[in-house]
Amino acid sequence: METADEELCRRVAAHDEAAFDLLVARYQERAYRVAWSIVRDTEDARDVSQEAFVRLWDTAGSFRGQARFSTWFHRLLVNLALDRRRRDRWWHRVLGPGARDDDPTPPLDRLAAPAADPGDELDRRDLMKRVWDAVDELPPRQRAVLHLQVREEMSTGEVAAVLECSEATVRVHLHRALTTLRERARNLRTLKETSR
């Protein structure tokens, strides 16, 4: 029977390295994904997610078990990512070229080949690309809520616990994010209809 995350965290507080390794193995992919959804840079995502695990090692003793470990860890991770995004390393902006070096492969090329009608498929891909581009431009907190709810399938209550805000606030963030994305999608449809 698998050891619960909460029990592993208690062992990490006693500096049990095996327990730490197990938690890292369980959460590393999700941590990286969540970090990337906020910072939108692979190097920063790696750095932020690793920092979250380092903080876990340092502060496991502060986990009291009142919330689920997943909630506690995501809170730590999301705060780090939002903080990174907000600060954005001013010295890079002032002193360096500041270019972000994300995967150069266009997002659409990372999708599997379509099977449906080519014309409809092109429209669908256009829509998806428009939505993905719009996600990039959302405020980080809205993007965090969107990713946690839609991609990580966390409930409103869980996201509220992660972000340490009310459920109403989470719903507002999600509403604003989806409204923005919907407007983008609608603009694309209008553009296509007027060009026909």
Partner: protein
């Protein structure tokens, strides 16, 4: 929700299946008679599906990731002890590097800028950098 009112805020919860049974029935009944809200639900569903289908970010080499993480955790313990002793010296050094870089001009500027970035990154890792941040933060979002 009275007759004629569009349950706009409930539509997102409806699409996500988060409404309680009574509320879900009320919204469904409204949708049966309201083409505008049905269109909204359709648009929201398409957007949510697009977000859910977004490609995952390029994954790091997990072996390297774990090795780097192990090194960071190991370094953390040792770093805390000598960071406290060397911090004032490190801060002075970083400040000098930054000031020198910002006041210089000409061909030598590029190399010194790279050095200053490297120093400041190191200071960031030593959690000393927060006190040096004098520029306003970018507004969130």
């Amino acid at each position: 929700m009275t007759a004629g009112q569009h349950p706009e805020r409930d539509l997102i919860a409806y699409v996500r299946g988060e409404l309680a049974a009574d509320a879900r029935r009320r919204v469904a009944a409204h949708l049966a008679d309201c083409r505008a809200c049905r269109a909204t639900v359709e648009e929201l569903s398409a957007v949510v599906a697009a977000v859910a289908a977004a490609p995952a970010p390029p994954a790091p080499a997990w072996g390297r990731y774990r090795a780097d993480l192990a090194a960071r955790v190991a370094a953390r313990r040792g770093r805390r002890r000598w960071t406290v002793r060397l911090a004032p010296l490190a801060v002075a050094g970083a400040l000098a590097a930054v000031l020198l870089t910002l006041t210089l001009s000409g061909p030598a500027k590029v190399d010194l800028q790279s050095d200053a970035i490297a120093v400041l990154d190191l200071m960031d890792n030593l959690e000393v950098i927060d006190n040096l941040d004098r520029l306003p933060a970018t507004p969130e979002g």
